[in-house]
């Protein structure tokens, strides 16, 4: 056997699996590797393994989803009707809460602009400390197992 064929087999044994039958050298290397790795050829019982998170996750239970969505929408419409509200009012109330938060933010920045230098420095320090802590926490690798 040529050195090139042996090299190709060592790089990718799946590409030419019959090479090992004809090359004694590669057969010896493969046998030695298998002996060293102590490969257990016993059959694996799938049911004995714990359930992986991705098993069955791609299933789309449309009857459940559509049924639940229809029930929630029906209850929402019934309650809106009973309360004399229109769906537009719900959107308005959400926007009003955003406006309230924006007002709080504006008043906080106004306060900061007029605050003594000591307070401004304390705020700057708090800003740096909190963001440094955020970076430290973000550096930690996730622990979750394969999804």
């Amino acid at each position: 056997m040529t050195q090139e064929a042996c090299q190709r087999y060592m790089e990718d044994p799946e590409a030419d699996p019959r090479h090992v039958e004809t090359c004694a050298e590669c057969r010896a290397v493969t046998a030695a590797l298998e002996a060293k790795a102590d490969v257990d050829h016993a059959p694996i019982s799938l049911d004995a393994l714990p359930l992986a998170p991705w098993e069955g996750s791609s299933h789309r239970a449309w009857p459940l989803v559509l049924g639940a969505a229809a029930i929630v929408v029906a209850i929402a419409l019934a309650l809106c009707d009973a309360a004399g509200l229109s769906p537009l009012h719900v959107a308005e109330s959400s926007l009003a809460s955003i406006d309230a938060r924006r007002g709080l933010l504006r008043s906080a920045s106004d306060w900061l602009r007029g605050a003594p230098a000591m307070w401004q420095a304390a705020f700057g320090l708090a800003f740096v400390v909190v963001n440094a802590l955020l970076v430290v926490l973000l550096r930690r690798a996730p622990k979750g197992i394969d999804a």
Partner: protein, 217 residues
């Protein structure tokens, strides 16, 4: 199913006790005196707004899960694997968002503040939406997730990411309807969600920062 009952029964008992105590308590024990017609109307309006927002959450959750179910599942797993880290990260991230928003508001007169504030708002809203959907998935898995293959094979509807997210929306939505306690639970869920979204980089399993390594000669 037994696990779901174990979780559902105490929650239902607590919710029922709270609601019963608020409705049936003598007027002298109530915080705001006897219920008037205006109070009842305001309660109905408040409930209508909450349930309408819940319906919007359900559509958003289903849409997000259809688009990136794998990422949502990974974030949900991370939340259950390291809940404390996600919660701490969520608290720090919310504080950071607020402080950064104040700093950007401070910069509005210098014109650079407006685009920065807009970008921060978009990032914060996306983080909250993604994280809350991951919380829905985690709650759905805790309440109705399958533990064995036989259970998985037996179920026709109550399996898959989509079903878990819907179950989570319903459970958290039901809890949201409880006065006083509901908004607190929802706020805690948001903190958990923001922490999980950031801890997993929106389920992408990539590091936020590249580690510096010296070139080996």
């Amino acid at each position: 199913m037994r696990r779901a009952l174990r979780l559902f029964l105490p929650l239902t008992a607590v919710a029922a006790t709270l609601v019963t105590a608020m409705v049936a308590a003598p007027s002298s024990f109530r915080l705001r005196g006897p219920i008037t017609v205006e109070d009842a109307m305001a309660t109905i309006q408040n409930t209508a707004v909450i349930v309408s927002l819940l319906a919007i959450w359900m559509f958003a959750a289903v849409g997000f899960t259809l688009l990136s179910g794998r990422e949502i599942r990974y974030s949900s797993l991370e939340m259950r694997a390291s809940a404390l880290h996600c919660f701490a990260l969520g608290l720090v991230a919310v504080t950071s968002f607020v402080l950064t928003a104040i700093v950007f508001s401070y910069l509005i007169p210098y014109h650079v503040g407006v685009p920065l504030l807009f970008a921060l708002g978009v990032i914060a809203i996306l983080t909250k939406i993604y994280g809350t959907i991951a919380v829905f998935h985690a709650v759905g898995m805790l309440v109705a997730g399958t533990r064995t293959r036989e259970q998985l094979a037996r179920r026709r509807w109550l399996r898959g990411d989509l079903a878990m997210v819907v179950v989570g929306v319903i459970v958290l939505g039901a809890l949201r309807l409880i006065p006083i306690v509901g908004p607190i639970i929802w706020a805690l869920a948001s903190v958990f969600g923001i922490g999980t979204a950031l801890a997993t980089k929106f389920g992408r399993r990539e590091p936020w920062f590249l580690a510096w390594r010296a070139v080996e000669s």
